[in-house]
Amino acid sequence: MQSQRELCSFPIAPSHKSKLTSAGFLITEDLKHLKPSELSKETGIGLEECLEILKLVCSESVDGSKRNEAPKPAVSALERLKEEQSLPPIITFSEGLDNMLGGGVPLCKITEFCGAPGVGKTQMCMQIAVDVQIPSQFGGLQGEAVYIDTEGSFIVERLVDIAKATVDHCNEMARLEGFKEGEITVESVLSGVHFYRCHDYVELLATVHLLPEFIKKHPKIKVVLVDSVAFHFRHDFDDLSLRTRLLTTMAQSFIKRATEFKIAIVLTNQMTTKFSPGEDSRLVPALGESWGHASTIRVILYWEGQKRWAWLYKSPSKKESRVPYQITMGGVRDIVTSPADNSNDQSDDEPSSKRQKVS
């Protein structure tokens, strides 16, 4: 990119600039590989000045090329597949939901949960922030989480509820499998959730900007959650094209981090009513059509009667499907059906001891 930079954007004397332009040198690329004597002959600028100009222009582009690096060697699809499969997903403790997502919330991708207020978006985020910390001997990622709260709905006592249930579950599994108990405690879970409260979209942009440095300092981080991404972009935003640009840039930044650090990004979004002429109004995810392209995986949470449902709306690898779920004291869980139905659900590949149902 730097090699395309116009010469007149550099701090060069105007008289030299006009000489460069009339000689046909317009962008940095044009000056590459030129000796000062050659440049002097072409433009009529003094030798010493040419040396200065080339030093100025080429040192910038040297920085540029260092930054842009040699292009990475192409990776075959098989290598990519192996890489993906070696990264376990983050489980949610709802087996139905995990199966629908292909094992859980995947790393290196953006997963978006959309839903009306009260359906469980914040609960889902808290559950994921806890589950990412499950020790590796239980099939977990043993990682940490960054939780960015934009709505003020992060209540620690609720996180403690969910952490307690997960810790109890892990300790029970440890007991059954002869591992040491106490690998994971409520305190360790709480200390593994890094929290930031954003009060407006500028703070959100600032947090996203500082994320890479933070993740480098805390390499155990395996998930970044934003609850919700919609909140600060839906009020007092008269310039919608600015909003779209900011959201797109933010999404690009997220996907870069996701792949660079091999982490999962989980975003929550609100719902809004869409009025189409000639059709009934319906609920759609907020932030517009262009935002729909930001996430890799989109799950819509909704109510049907008294039950909560999760609908896998968009996924690159799993087919569209819906599962019911519930929110208990301990967090997100499957709807417990009669024992006869349960026996049909044990269809995973992993040993069932690692996927014990949590009541």
């Binding site: 730097q2 954007s9 701090p11 910038e60 920085d63 540029g64 930054r67 009306a116 207020p117 009260g118 914040t122 960054v146 939780y147 709505e151 003020g152 709905s153 992060f154 209540i155 620690v156 006592e157 609720r158 996180l159 403690v160 305190e187 879970v189 709480l190 200390s191 593994g192 959730v193 890094h194 929290f195 930031y196 409260r197 009060h199 500028v202 703070e203 942009l205 600032a206 947090t207 900007h209 500082l210 440095e213 933070f214 919609a230 909140f231 839906r234 009020h235 007092d236 600015l242 640009r245 900011l246 840039t249 609100q270 809004t272 009513t273 609920l283 907020a286 009667g305 929110i327 004291m329």
Partner: protein, 341 residues
């Protein structure tokens, strides 16, 4: 405040930015890096460094862990710790895990005469209690948009409230409740943006009640203006949230109900639609049942409590970040709202 001048960066960068008129943090963070490079003639490294310096200034607190939040360690945390405000009835408090959240917008919706204003009046009293008793040791700002403020009822409640303990007799409850009447959205907004900050910065008020939000939005908008209505609601909610975070206090908004168009499920749903629901932190719903109960007559320090039949009402948690969908029954007597034992 909040301009490039305050940053600890190379003066050359500051000059370049000033030359092109890009000085505020918000402006710089929202422009793309390439645009800034082009406009201010800076290198990519310089722009990244500038944005990083700004981002660090913009953040209001360092990244903490949930453990820090729980323990209340580190001084800069005070605004972030979300406590509870007692409702005045121990059983209701227990169900709500302490009371209403001490930050964010809690909505109380319900049909007329379900007890919404009662609930708000009660909160105006409990907020004045010391923290050990579940209060926030400060007064309340009560913004009325509908009927006149029920001063007589408040006086009655205050006299009963004081009876309960010696300590309470010391608190001049009536003096600490500031009442304002507004008729429409413009006056509500000016009250919130101009009058309230004066009151709040002195620290004498730790509860803001808007009774009701529905009245302001239900009449002045025609069908074709619904988009504008959503915008105004979002803007109002954002202002209220800002106040809540800045002054660390709960905002309670009263909402009305409207008929549900569904044939199954509830008859009534809260008014103002999804656009409003998306803005609030917690929604409580009050309703009357058709059952009645005879309240036993008690004499407490010379005053009569109970002794008349009254409707049984229900309080329901429609959504809250820390509560399940529970519901409990309550009655309203001379003292106020109490759970039915």
């Amino acid at each position: 405040m909040n301009t490039v001048e305050d940053l600890d960066v190379n003066p050359k960068i500051k000059t370049s930015m000033r030359k092109v008129g890009l000085t505020s943090y918000g402006q710089i963070l929202t422009l793309s890096s390439q645009d800034i490079e082009r406009l201010a003639k800076l290198s990519q490294g310089e722009v990244t460094g500038l944005k990083t310096a700004i981002a660090q200034q913009v953040l209001t607190h360092p990244l903490l862990t949930a453990l820090d939040l729980q323990r209340g360690t580190k001084n800069c945390l005070q605004n972030l710790i979300i406590g509870k405000l007692s409702t005045g009835c121990k059983q209701i408090d227990d169900a709500l895990r302490g009371g209403i959240l001490s930050q964010g917008i809690t909505e109380i919706s319900g049909e007329s005469a379900s007890g919404k204003t009662q609930f708000c009046l009660q909160l105006c009293l409990t907020v004045q209690l010391p923290p050990e008793e579940g209060g926030l040791a400060a007064g309340a700002a009560y913004i009325c948009t509908e009927d006149a403020f029920p001063s007589k009822r408040l006086s009655q409640m205050i006299s009963y409230f004081r009876q309960r303990s010696e300590k309470r007799k010391q608190i001049p409850f009536g003096d600490n409740i500031f009442i304002e009447h507004v008729a429409d959205l413009d006056s509500l907004n000016s009250c919130i943006h101009q009058k309230l900050p004066h009151l709040l910065s002195s620290g004498s008020v730790k509860l803001v009640i808007v009774d009701s939000v529905a009245a302001v939005f239900r009449c002045d908008y025609e069908l074709k203006d619904m988009y504008k209505r959503s915008k105004h609601m979002a803007s109002l909610a954002a202002s209220l949230h800002r106040i809540s975070s800045k002054y660390c206090l709960p905002i309670v908004c009263v909402n009305q109900v409207t008929d549900s168009m569904q044939s199954i499920g509830k008859k009534n749903i809260p008014a103002l639609g999804l656009a409003w629901s998306n803005q609030i932190t917690c929604r409580l719903s009050l309703s009357r049942t058709n059952r009645e109960v005879d309240l036993p007559r008690i004499i407490l320090k010379g005053s009569v409590i109970g002794g008349f039949p009254t409707s049984i009402r229900t309080l329901e948690v429609v959504f809250a970040p820390n509560l399940p969908n529970l519901s409990l029954m309550y009655v309203i007597d001379q003292e106020g709202i109490k759970a039915l034992t």
